[in-house]
Each structure stands twice: as C-alpha cells, then as structure tokens.
C-alpha cells in the first residue's frame, strides 16, 4: 500500500469525524498559533527597541553619577571633553515641570543641557535656534520646545519669541525641534530644553548627575569610554560611584530581556503543543478501540502490521499537521490584529513558522506511535470478533 493512498484514507477518516477532529486539533492549533503570534509580537517589540536605541546614535556614551557626596562640576566635565576619543559632552539635568501658556497648562519633561546636546542626540531644529553657550553663561531664561509640546502650548502658531511660564516664571521660546519619535517610553518631542545653568536654578541643584558624551566615531567608542573612566576615577575612587555605558551595552541589556521573554513564551507555547499532542494520542487510542473491527477486516483482507501502523500514524500526522496549518494561520491573523489595534511592530520569521509547523507534525507522529502500535498488534480473529 502506498503512502498517497494512506493519506487519502486518513483525510477521509478525519472528514468523517469533523467535530472530533477539530477538537483534537484544537490543542495543536492553540499551541502553534500562540508560538507564532507571541514570537511575532516579541520580535517586533525587540526590533522597535533596537531601532529606537540605534536612533540615539551608536557613538553615544552615557555617564551616570550615583555618588551625591562628591559633586561633579562643569570644570570636571571640561576635562572629560579633553579626553582621547571624545568629541562632545553635554550635561543632562532632567526634571518634570508645569508649562503654562494662556489657559493651557501641561506637564512635560525638562532637560537642562548645553549646545552640544543637539548634535550628540542627533536632533535638528525646525524653527529658531537651540540653546547657545551665551544662554548658558548668562543663565538666560530661554527654552527650546519639542515639537509635540510646542503644538500643545501654541497650537498652530509659531512659538518663537513668545513667552511660556515654567513653574510660574516666564521663559522666552527661542526654538522648536523637529520630531524624533519616542525611545523606551520617553519622547523627546514632548519635552523642553533649557540652558544647563538655568535648569540648575529651576531644579535647585548645583552639580551634575548625568552627562552624555559622543565618541569621535564608532571605532573610538571603547577608547573614549576608557578615557572617560580615567577622568572619572580622578574624582571618584570607587568605580561604583559612576557608570559609563554605551549604546551597545544598553542594546545588549535590552536584548537579554527580550530574549528571555521570548524563551519564556516559547516554553509556554511548547507546553501547549505537548498537551495538544497528548490530546491527539488520547483520541487516537479511542479511535483504535472504536475501529477494532475495521482493523480486523483490513487484516483479514491482507493488511500487514506495517499497513495498519502506517494508517494510524499518517492519520495522527495529518491531524496534527492540519492543526499546525490552522494554528499558523490563526497565529499570523492574531499578530496582524495586534499590530493594527495596538499599533505595534510585529516581525514574522519564516524559520520560526516552519519550525512550529514541523514541531506540530513531529508531535503528531510521536504521539501517534503508541496508538498505531496498539492497532497493529491486534490479532485479526480477536478484532473480527468484537462488535
């Protein structure tokens, strides 16, 4: 008996028991569907994280100072700028403050920084100008708005040379930035930028807790990081007092998180595939008992053990592969729906879909072996005798 005839027989048997076949396949459908949907969503989110991290520039080095007893000052920051491989440095002072323009009031993040910030973060000015070193020197009450914040406060008007109140004091708007998009939950579009010295006064601090440095190029990132660490170690004896991190490190940390998430999801989906396989085995065992007589007839007519074994194996394989196909379709559909409703990025990977499908087929075959073996072992006279 050839395999093609066996497959035709298997399909016919599955058709003959539509509801039962569907319920049997359900475990596999859910398993494969969830593998594909979850991995598409997971890979999509890790891709969007990677994109946003990359958009900050791969030359970017972030330095955080955790020691608040020994203060880091602008003079020390100037030393950092002299270090080998470092092109620009910009101090960062973050806070959230209330903005008011006429009757419109909103809170947004405020970043106090210097003129280098613009090129370090690869931002561009849409209108007006960015913070200058003069603003910094004279503690000018000027502000540069992110595009979203500008729209919120001024709607369609040009905000340039107009005043906005930040925590009750008037600031002159000197520039508006182009939209850059969000990164990891923070958007530089819904933010404002002040001269560093002005921000220090607003936030009432006198020292630097964070600054960005830009390496001359991607090759010199490590060199620059080493140089920065050297400068930092002159002020802080304990290396726990500060951290020097580049975008690669951030990306790797992110990747580790998304990778373990993916592993977890795959594990759960794998378990549901396993449960689906047990469901198939259960139904196939019932089917063998129900069809004992059929097996007897087939054997009397000349079916060998191999033929019976093959018949039941193919049946469970076809059942699980059909489930795998349905599951793949449902998985793709679910991910698409998620993409449309949540506006998230999804990434389909053909190898993963193929692997999920093949895994379902293997599950079907493995869990089909025992029932098929049981069927093939029936003695024709005993099988014919059962009603």
């Amino acid at each position: 008996m050839n395999v093609f005839t066996s497959i035709k027989m298997a399909v016919r048997n599955i058709q003959g028991n539509k509801l039962r076949s569907f319920l049997t396949m359900l475990g596999i459908i859910i398993g494969v569907g969830s593998v594909i949907a979850l991995l598409a969503i997971g890979q999509g989110s890790s891709k969007s994280v990677a994109d946003s991290v990359n958009s900050l520039g791969t030359n970017l080095i972030t330095v955080n100072i955790t020691n608040t007893d020994t203060h880091f000052t602008m003079d020390q920051l100037k030393q950092v700028k002299q270090a080998t491989g470092v092109k620009h440095v910009a101090p960062v002072l973050s806070g959230r403050n209330t903005f008011q323009k006429g009757s419109t009031s909103t809170t947004a993040s405020v970043t106090g920084t210097t003129s280098s910030y613009l090129s370090i973060r690869q931002m561009t000015v849409k209108e007006g100008r960015f913070i200058s070193s003069l603003d910094e020197k004279f503690r000018q009450k000027v502000v540069v708005l992110g595009s979203d914040l500008a729209t919120t406060l001024f709607e369609n008007q040009s905000p340039i040379d107009k005043y906005v109140r930040i925590d009750g004091a008037n600031y002159l708007v000197v520039g508006v930035l182009n939209s850059k998009g969000g990164s990891m939950g923070t958007s530089s579009d819904d933010a404002a930028f002040l001269p560093y010295s002005t921000a220090q006064r607003l936030q009432q601090t006198t020292y630097i807790t964070q600054f960005y440095a830009q390496a001359e190029n991607q090759q010199s990132v490590n060199l620059a990081m080493a140089a920065i660490s050297r400068v930092m170690s002159e002020t802080y004896s304990d290396s726990d007092d500060y951290s020097v991190v580049n975008q690669q490190d951030v990306m790797e940390a992110m990747r580790a998180v998304t990778d373990s998430m993916t592993m977890l999801l795959t594990g759960i989906a794998g378990i549901s595939l396993l449960v689906g396989g047990i469901g198939i085995m259960n139904i196939m065992l019932v089917s063998v008992t129900e069809r004992t007589r059929e097996i007897g007839i087939r054997k009397a007519i000349g079916a060998k053990r191999r033929d019976i074994m093959l018949q039941f194996l193919i049946e469970s394989a076809v059942l699980s592969m059909l489930g795998g196909l349905c599951g793949a379709a449902i998985g793709v559909l679910t991910a698409k729906v998620y993409e449309l409703t949540a506006g998230a990025t999804i990434v389909f990977s053909l190898p993963i879909m193929t692997a999920a499908f093949l895994f379902s087929a293997i599950v079907g075959i493995i869990f089909g072996v025992f029932p098929a073996y049981k069927a093939s072992k029936l003695k024709p006279i005993d099988a014919l005798r059962t009603e």
Partner: protein
C-alpha cells in the same frame, strides 16, 4: 484427478478455557481439491470456527501440517500470513464486514490496495468484480444504502477482487432472509461452476446441501458426509 488445494494433516488446536483444556480441533485430516465446493457443517462449539480460522490463515495450528495452494503455511509468521490471506483467500463473512465509511467500489478495491495494485487497474478490476455480482450500478453507494443481500454481494465481489485460490464463506446466509439466501447461494454455485474453489462453513444443512461435498465436524473431529 484435480490437484489438492488444501491439505491438512493431523492439525490440532487447543484452548485454555477457565483452566480447562478444550480440544477445538483434534487431529484433523482434510484435503480439498481445486474447483471443489465443500461445506463444513457443525453445531456451535464443534470447532468449525476454529477450523475456518486456520483454513483462512487467521490463526495457526498448534501442531500438524497445513499446505495451502502448494505452500506450507502452518509455521509462517504473521507478516507472511497476511500476505497469504491477501493473495490466496477471499473471505465472505456472515455479517458482511464491509467498511461503512467507504463506497461499495472502495470496499472491493481494498484487497488490491494492500497488494499494491495501481489505482487505474485497481478501479477497473473492482468494477469488473462488482459487475460479476450484478451490482455495477451501486458502485458509489455506501453499505448502509444497500440491502443485506446487496451488501453480501459487495463482500463477495471484494473476495473475488484478489483472484484468490479459494473463497472462504463463513455462514454467508446467516444474516439474510430465505429468498436472499437462495440468491447468494445461487451466486456461489455459479462461481463454483466458473471454476472457483469454495469452502462454506455453516450450521444450516439446507445451505450445506448446495455444496458438492459436505464434511461435518463435531467435538473437533471431522467426518465425511452430513452426519450431525
């Protein structure tokens, strides 16, 4: 003198039944010639089912020799017995034993499927066999759409499909009314006239008389003639 198609010598079969040893077959000697129409009669419990199972290669004797169509089958493995059943024997059962999910034609095709006959030839041969039993128009019907007599005809067509050396009929009329029984018996007689060797197992003497030779079995022993 025609050639013997079945030669059994000193065939024995015993069962353990509730601690008791039952001699289902007790040193059976049986020879059946090619082209014969033999009926084996006996009451229930006489061992005729066991004999049928052994003749049909569904079961193996404990001892003794059994030569079917020139080859010794008493020591063959299950795998080879399946092959022998497929090649040399056509079964006709009391309750037809058709596969309910398949059409009449597909049921007739079944032995050829297991023999590995190509689709086109298989269909043609199955059609021929259905025509031979007068059911050409019912090829696409399922067993539950056919009457008992028609189902048994399909079963006979299935038995014929493999062009076996013997037709083994186990109470072929047991589930049929007398009119249909006569039709089926007439069909079997006609097949015998075409040269088929037929072994008929029954408890019904009326039916047994249609055969050209009757053998009776009682308590596992054979006797020539219908002395029950």
């Amino acid at each position: 003198m025609t050639e013997a198609i079945i030669t059994m010598k000193a065939v024995e079969k015993t069962y353990q039944l509730g601690g008791q040893v039952v001699h289902a077959l007790n040193r059976i000697h049986l020879t059946i010639e090619e082209g014969a129409f033999v009926s084996i009669v006996g009451p229930s419990g006489s061992g005729k089912s066991t004999l049928m199972n052994i003749i049909g290669c569904l079961d193996k004797p404990d001892s003794g020799s059994y030569v079917l169509g020139g080859s010794a089958v008493d020591r063959l493995k299950d795998h080879d017995l399946a092959e022998i059943r497929n090649q040399k024997i056509g079964f006709i059962f009391q309750n037809f034993n058709l596969l309910g999910k398949m059409t009449a034609l597909e049921n007739v095709e079944l032995p050829l499927i297991y023999r590995g006959v190509k689709t086109k030839e298989r269909k043609a041969r199955a059609r021929e066999c259905l025509e031979a039993v007068g059911l050409k128009e019912r090829a696409a019907h399922r067993p539950n759409q056919l009457s008992g007599g028609q189902q048994q005809r399909v079963a006979i067509a299935r038995a014929l499909a493999g062009q076996p050396q013997i037709l083994l009929a186990d109470e072929p009329t047991g589930a049929l009314d007398s009119k249909t029984s006569d039709d089926i018996m007439a069909l079997l007689t006609a097949l015998n006239h075409q040269g088929r060797t037929i072994v008929l197992i029954t408890h019904d003497l009326e039916v047994a008389r249609k055969a050209t030779r009757t053998v009776s079995i009682r308590d596992g022993k054979l006797q020539e003639g219908e002395h029950i």
